[in-house]
């Protein structure tokens, strides 16, 4: 809820009763995590629907560097369950259909220890070249741990063993694990400074939802923990400092008006349709479209297609139906609201990506394969408008470490 450019709280649905609740606050910290569920293959949970990003975006805060989407190279196909980096760290091999350690063509010096984005792209290239395996959930490659032996697997990779056994019925001591790349992390997010401040008075963000820019265009493993602990604490302190000197907001007219508008939107629009397509089909098409056109490899045409698809889906969602009309624990309504958030967030990705005519970090353009520091050593900023997002740029602050060429 924004009153005169200042954030004064949130409206939320009490899922238990279906009631709209107003929570007034001097400051709001968004800590809702990423938006992996925009994509078809993701390690993220069902609840990672980018709500916080959309909330800030709608309130007027730009989403920064949204084209920087990290793919992780080893997900179980279908379920998106993550097989940890440690599996490769301990010496696991990635193999294609011909039983070949294909990484020698991509990162000969690092092989399986290469960075996530390069490994993910390598797997995609193998699959596109017809050297992947075909399964019921699309193509995949193999992660082979069989040569590591029982003791290493049990002591060092117990969770990998458990997941493979529980969810695939595979014993990694004897069989390779099928894996494919999938969305894992959003480097981009709600624009904040290093205190978690979004630039809009009273609004702070921390964690994956935020983009403090500590991850640049390509996050390193475990840095999200730092992001949570360090910048979470920083955001908390900054919000507290702000709250102490501010007056408590009152449930005044602008705020009340916003709540009523939201109430109208939910109960008179979303829940009202009796006929139309299911929200689940809109969601599936968004996920497939993002995966196909805004995924690991991108180019002008695919990104344009991505923008078009999301635009279409927005129209379709506004006519879709929520079958469940109950007040109590209406998860379908929640899913509809989340999908609405997701579409807003999803849209910023191809729009930001299409303008970045270079390849940098996790963002790889097949039509512009080189990094272009002269033109694009900048942060993209997606602003909400009544139409498609408006993208502009803000300068990158470089302190101690200068960007260098990546060589492996």
């Amino acid at each position: 809820m924004v009153d005169d450019g200042r954030v004064e709280g949130v409206t939320a649905i009490e899922v238990r009763t279906g009631e709209l609740v107003t929570i007034l606050g001097k400051a709001v910290i968004i800590a809702t995590g990423g938006c992996g569920r925009i994509f078809q293959f993701t390690t993220n949970g069902w609840i990672k629907t980018g709500d916080g990003m959309a909330l800030a975006y709608r309130a007027g805060v730009p989403l920064k560097d949204m084209e920087m989407v990290q793919y992780h190279p080893t997900l179980l196909p279908n379920t998106g369950i993550l097989i940890t980096e440690a599996a490769r760290g301990e010496g696991g091999h990635l193999l294609n259909k011909d039983g070949e350690r294909f990484l020698k063509r991509y990162v000969p010096n690092k092989m399986e220890l290469g960075p996530r984005d390069i490994l993910s792209r390598a797997e995609m290239s193998e699959i596109n070249a017809g050297r992947g395996f075909e399964g019921p959930y699309g193509s995949y490659v193999n992660l082979d741990l069989t040569h590591l032996g029982k003791i290493t697997i049990e002591d060092k990779l117990p969770f990998v063993k458990e997941l493979a056994e529980k969810y695939l019925g595979i014993d990694p001591e004897h069989e390779p694990i099928p894996v494919r790349p999938g969305q894992h992390y959003m480097m981009g997010g709600v624009h904040t400074d290093m205190h978690g401040f979004t630039g809009m008075p009273g609004l702070y963000a921390a964690g994956e939802v935020a983009c403090v820019s500590m991850n640049g265009a390509n996050r390193l493993g475990s840095n999200s923990l730092t992001e949570c602990l360090v910048f979470g604490a920083a955001a908390g302190r900054a919000a507290a400092r702000y709250a102490v000197k501010m007056e408590s907001p009152s449930f005044g007219n602008p705020v009340q008006g916003e709540v009523m508008m939201e109430e109208k939107r939910i109960f008179d629009q979303i829940l009202k349709h009796e006929q139309g397509e299911r929200i689940s089909s809109v969601r599936t098409e968004m996920q497939n479209g993002m995966e196909k056109h805004v995924g690991i490899y991108r180019d002008e045409n695919s990104l344009k297609e991505g923008c078009r698809i999301i635009g279409d889906l927005k129209t379709r969602l506004s006519n879709a139906i929520v079958e469940d009309k109950d007040h109590v624990y209406n998860t379908e309504l929640v899913a509809a609201l989340e999908l609405d958030f997701m579409l807003d967030v999803a849209e910023t990705i191809p729009y930001s990506a299409i303008q970045r005519r270079e390849s940098r970090g996790a963002h790889y353009r097949t039509d512009y394969t080189k990094r272009d520091d002269a033109n694009f050593l900048t942060h993209s900023m997606a602003h909400k408008t009544p139409g498609p997002p408006r993208i502009d740029y803000s300068p990158v602050t470089i302190t101690r470490w200068k960007p260098e060429e990546r060589v492996y």
């Binding site: 379920t79 969810y167 299911r278 929520v322 469940d324």
Partner: protein
């Protein structure tokens, strides 16, 4: 991988419409690697958008998708459909908890118990970060590590008849977590936690049915924790009897 058809019978309870719960049957095509949760998701996406249940991670980590499957408390994300081949699969809300809607149960009671045992490390005095971390050896870690695997899925509560009979009972997961901190060499909160687990409705209600440890999807053994808690309680009581003052 071939496709089969699973018949799933799910408890429906919609408090705004129904006075009583009833079963609704759905037919779901499935592959060998599909779990009950996939079937529920299929139903919600393709057949009936109003079916209500909780889930998030689909990999046995978040602990939100528990249900009684054929009478046994299980994570729906960890129960394969093919294991029920040829049979109707009955999916009901977890036993003992009040039902809010369909498979969604009220977690309030457990949440309160979780807070009650103070599931964090208590220090008499926090040392500033500059002085380094609280160190712990592998051996010290092993004393409690299995109990820290708890994902708060509440399956152990659904499996515990004692909790079903008397909801005041602190129950398996909360006691196991309390024990996890009691055994943690970095923790100094024993004085605070003992009274919580050693009151009548703490560990003492447990009669070693042991089903909590059977159903735990993370291999935690709450029964063991509760028993060890009782042994601690008994030794403390005897100590305080022998040494009325400095005993504890």
């Amino acid at each position: 991988m071939s496709q089969d058809i699973a018949t799933i019978r799910v408890t429906r309870y919609r408090p705004e419409k129904d006075a009583k719960p009833f079963f609704q049957e759905y037919k779901v095509p499935y592959r060998h690697d599909m779990v009950v949760l996939d079937a529920l998701n299929y139903i919600k996406a393709e057949i009936d958008g109003s079916l209500t249940y909780r889930w998030s991670c689909r990999m046995g980590v978040c602990g939100s998708c528990g249900a009684n499957i054929d009478g046994e408390p299980k994570l729906t994300c960890a129960s394969f459909l093919h294991e029920f081949k040829g049979r109707t699969i009955t999916v009901e809300p977890m036993t003992h908890f009040p039902v809010i809607k369909d498979l969604v149960v009220d977690m309030q009671d457990f949440m309160e118990k979780l807070v009650k045992i103070k599931p964090w490390i208590i220090r008499e005095k926090e040392t500033p970060p500059e002085q380094g971390e609280y160190k712990q050896s592998a051996k010290e870690l092993e004393r409690y590590s299995q109990f820290s695997s708890c994902i708060n899925c509440m399956l152990c509560y659904a499996a515990c008849p004692i909790y079903g009979l008397n909801e005041k009972f602190l129950g398996p997961a909360a006691t196991a977590l309390a024990y996890r901190y009691i055994e943690d060499s970095r923790d100094q909160g024993k004085e605070v936690r003992f009274p919580i687990v050693h009151e009548m409705e703490g560990a003492w209600e447990c009669t070693l049915v042991g089903e909590c440890s059977v159903v735990c999807p993370k291999g935690v053994d709450p029964m063991l924790a509760i028993q060890k808690t009782k042994i601690l309680g008994a030794t403390n009581a005897i100590k305080s009897l022998l040494m009325p003052r400095g005993g504890r």
